[in-house]
């Protein structure tokens, strides 16, 4: 149990208002595009209009004649410096600026630098590139056809196949399928979508010719890792690189990779000796930076006649675009997709994934998701519904029957995970009760009799977050620990620095709350800094809901190290032995004599003014936390939709979200995270798709086509929680940011399919726009 601190201290469990919001609400945030340096110049990328074409020539003369233009860098220029290609985060390489040919529409071809943004943009229009169009590969299902164009002749393997990955027992699973009386399957595409953070990607690169130091202000979710990669790839000594991630306007995985624009800005600053700013437009962001999903999946379930599941088999084709720029831990080419057995007790499972190249933007980033968990969760939650329809049983009952029971944790899944803790039935029962599930089913029955369409969709997801333990998890070789350094000042105030980087998650509030919990220093007395590699301890950054599970662990352990030193100082001040002292948040007191006490503030002052003999001065600690396991948040979401049978229009009437993320640091922030993730899930389920036409033209490359949910589309979210702490985490927390994005798409889709299930509908691919529903209603003779 977490000891409750006073509101003044504001430790865990208090809905402390976000400390960072004041500056954001007053327009005082400091984002990359707010950085203005003396003599700064501006970069603009020239991009390919074609999805696949040979570059016959690049003529920069007209561009160079535009007043104010300082340089036009081409792929050939970079090739001379050995920088035309860069490594991706996943054993592939990617062109910085194209040489020879382009592989997707909007690929980076040249970089114009000018005194003003406008001159750079005008000149970019004048760079003449002579292309010869090549056959285009758009459909991943044709990537391995004998007559498919080979997109990557630079690779040894002359094929569009990137990887095959499998996990589980193929033979035992096949056998279970043979024996099972019930078999069901669903084919589902988790469409290509994009995190579309409000702030696009960008940087200011400033190479100081006098000090030979490179400072890069970067929209980076992982500033330390990016510094190391800049050093390894660019050959600049790492001590001469400073990466600063200032305020970030949303990341959602989009700001994990290194993009060609960053590299070009650095090269241009090295070349010109001036600071170079490059910030993408919205369309550039949607069309060229890391997309998410694009998993083409098939799940089969074998079960007993009573619905007890016996085996799961999953086959997936992954479209990675032109380069494998997935941001995933090294040992996991399909991320943590093998979480696909979800909340259910499958005795057997087998999962295989094949990745292929197509003429599309590279990526495969984890959009508010621990590396393909969203795809996995969507698939199993869809498949469970399809099984329920086949057995003619209630989807809630089928889930309750197959849940892993609370007494079975830690639970070893057939695909290799060890779930830390869970109580799935408790979360589901709570959600069913809030929803009034039985009454809703009754209402649905009555409405069906009247010919009206209403659906109830469930999703009882299990998440895997907090990558990750060093023995299994690394990105580009860097182990996935994270860090916290805390310094207590003489007056008892504190500063903490972490290896993570907030992009809107509220770190400046939540991490100080952990310290407040552990040391009793009021949350308002603690400053938090992240994102400056010159000052913060090394860490792998913020994505995959890892900040609380990993850096939160570091924060807690570092605080406890300080508390142990504080105990020694308190014993010295109170002239008792350490064993005679007891701790309550904010002070040590002598056992049995609570008035004989020293506050943490008094102890801090003594650490600089009255140091026990033989002790080092100061009161500070650092911890590099290697989590013993991942954490497994879960929950049940219920969505109720009404569908207009004439138009196919879908109205989300209710959405109930019961989340369990273990112990909660700040309930208000958790709720805010859930609201945001649910809104994103709604967008994915109903509105969003980056599609390509048959020639590889992007059809979702702007906000006219790629829609974001606004207050108009977003329903009222009914949130609640259960609490099952993580047994291995120092404060029992599990992480929550991505749960709503992971768990909600299935609930939305299940609700729509449920509304149409009596017509024989078993699946509809996202995004489910009204026209798709209308077409089905027309086919079934329901709509006129």
């Amino acid at each position: 149990m977490i000891q409750q601190t006073s509101p003044e201290i504001g430790g865990m469990g208090h809905s402390v208002k976000r400390k960072e919001d004041r500056r954001f609400l007053l327009g005082k945030g400091n984002y990359v595009d707010d950085i203005h340096l003396p003599h700064m110049v501006y970069g603009q990328l020239v991009r390919s209009p074609f999805a696949h074409a040979l570059i016959k020539s690049v003529n920069t003369e007209a561009a160079m004649r535009v007043p104010g233009v300082l340089a036009v860098i081409t792929g050939e220029d970079l090739a001379k410096a050995g920088l035309a290609w860069m490594p991706t985060l996943f054993f592939d390489k990617q062109m910085v600026l194209a040489t020879g040919k382009v592989l997707f529409q909007s690929q980076e071809v040249a970089f114009v630098v000018a005194e003003t943004r406008f001159a750079a943009a005008d000149a970019a229009e004048l760079v003449e590139v002579d292309y010869e169009e090549l056959p285009v590969l758009v459909d991943p299902h044709h990537a391995l056809d004998a007559d498919a164009p080979i997109l990557r002749p630079d690779r040894e393997e002359k094929s569009n196949h990137i990887f095959h990955w499998e996990v589980g027992d193929r033979a035992a699973t096949a056998k279970a399928f043979e024996k099972a009386p019930v078999r069901t399957e669903v084919t589902a595409v988790f469409q290509r979508c994009h995190p579309a953070p409000l702030e696009t990607c960008g940087c200011v690169a400033d190479f100081n010719t006098a000090t030979e130091r490179l400072t890069v202000w970067l929209t980076s979710q992982a500033p330390h890792a990016h510094r190391t990669l800049f050093a390894l790839v660019g050959g600049i000594p790492e001590n001469n690189i400073r990466v600063i991630s200032p305020d970030i306007g949303g990341g959602f995985g989009n700001k994990v990779p290194i993009y060609p624009g960053y590299v070009c800005a650095v090269v241009a600053s090295l070349k010109l000796g001036r600071p170079v700013k490059w910030v993408e437009t919205r369309s550039e962001n949607l069309q060229s930076t890391g997309f998410a999903r694009d998993y083409h999946m098939r799940a089969e379930i074998a079960s007993e006649s009573d619905g007890t599941v016996k085996a799961l088999r999953v086959q997936t084709l992954a479209d990675h675009g032109a380069f494998n720029a997935a941001a995933q831990p090294t040992k996991f080419p399909a991320g943590l997709f093998s979480i696909c057995t979800g909340s259910y007790k499958f005795p057997n499972a087998f999962c295989e994934v094949d990745g292929v190249y197509t003429n599309k933007a590279p990526g495969g980033i984890a959009y508010r998701c621990s590396f393909r968990v969203t795809e996995a969760s969507y698939l199993i939650e869809r498949a469970m519904d399809v099984l329920a329809y086949q057995l003619n049983t209630d989807p809630a009952e089928l889930r309750l029957k197959n849940f892993i029971r609370p007494d079975e944790f830690p639970y070893e899944t057939p695909l290799g995970w060890s779930y830390d803790s869970g109580n799935y039935a408790a979360a589901m029962n709570k959600a069913l009760e809030i929803a009034g599930y039985r009454e809703l089913r009754k209402e649905q029955e009555e409405k069906r009799r009247r010919g009206e369409l209403m659906g109830i969709g469930l999703s009882s997801f299990t998440e895997v977050v907090g990558a990750g333990p060093a023995h299994t998890f690394d990105i580009a070789g860097l182990k996935m620990f994270d860090s916290c350094e805390i310094r207590i000042h003489p007056t008892g105030k504190a500063i903490a620095r972490l290896g993570t980087k907030s992009q809107g998650q509220g770190h400046e509030t939540t991490f100080p709350q952990i310290i407040a919990q552990e040391l009793g220093i009021p949350v308002s007395d603690i400053t938090l800094e992240e994102g400056d590699t010159d000052t913060a301890p090394y860490g792998l950054g913020t994505y995959a809901s890892r900040s609380t599970p990993v850096a939160g662990g570091a924060t807690s352990v570092a605080s406890r190290k300080i508390r142990e030193k504080a105990r020694k100082i308190a014993a010295h001040l109170l002239e008792v032995s350490e064993e005679d002292l007891e701790w309550e948040p904010g002070k040590f007191f002598v056992k049995g004599a609570p008035s004989k006490a020293k506050t943490i503030q008094e102890i801090a002052f003594a650490a600089y003014t009255n140091i026990p003999p033989g002790m080092e001065a100061g009161l500070e600690a650092v911890d590099y936390y290697d989590p013993p396991n991942l954490t497994f948040p879960f929950g049940t979401y219920i969505c109720v939709v009404d569908i207009d049978k004439g138009t196919g229009e879908i109205k989300v009437r209710r959405f109930i979200a019961v989340d369990d993320c273990g112990n909660i640091i700040n309930p208000m922030i958790v709720e805010g995270q859930i609201h945001g993730g649910l809104a994103e899930g709604l967008g994915i389920a109903f509105m969003q798709l980056i599609s390509y036409d048959e020639s590889g033209n992007v059809q979702g490359g702007n906000f006219m086509d790629y829609l974001l949910p606004t207050a108009v589309e977003t329903p009222y979210w009914e949130t609640d929680k259960t609490c099952t702490p993580s047994p291995h985490h120092p404060i029992g927390a599990k992480g929550v940011g991505e749960s709503p994005n992971v768990g909600s798409p299935a609930a939305f889709v299940n609700a729509v399919v449920d509304a149409l299930s009596h017509l024989g509908v078993r699946h509809i691919d996202m995004p489910i726009a009204s026209w798709k529903v209308w077409q089905i209603l027309k086919e079934k003779g329901v709509a006129a």
């Binding site: 209009p49 036409d693 020639s695 033209n697 992007v698 059809q699 490359g701």
Partner: protein
Amino acid sequence: MAVRIEKSFRVPEPIEKVWALLKDPRAVANFVPGAKITEALDDRNFKGAISVKVGPAVTDFKGELHVERVDEQNHEVQLDGKGQDIRGKSSASMKLIGKLNARDDGTEVKTVSEVNVVGILAQFGGRMIYDVSDVMFREFVKRFQERLQHIETEAEPGPSEPVNAAKVVSSALSRSVRRVFGGSDDSGEGF
């Protein structure tokens, strides 16, 4: 982005008079707003240029026009064109079939064009391509009809007017906007 556009219109003229005009690729090209024939390679092959402005993107295409078929008996002509934007931003190809049918009150002109656009222009999607082609087609019809009248009154053709590409676009844009936000779709001019 491949689109197929079918259009037809009627002119109060006898079929042979209309046919004489339709089978002349130079004349037809001149009726297309922003287009011109720049060089005749032979009777059936021409070099040409067309300027189209869609939103912020001005696209100057240069390309070739090939007369694939002139069917005197059925009054049908097929023109194949392909071109690339001179700045390398887009490319397009087109197959245009024009067919005449005699009617009591004149001649019906039926056109079927299959246009494939690749590149930046294609990102605007069908809605802009259809709208731009709508506006261009109406201009085409207007010029076609004017020219038919000119044949009666003048021996020499009048000069081909340069197209106001900006106007074409603003007109297409306003039609798109009105479709989304309500309002009638049939007033052709811009804001």
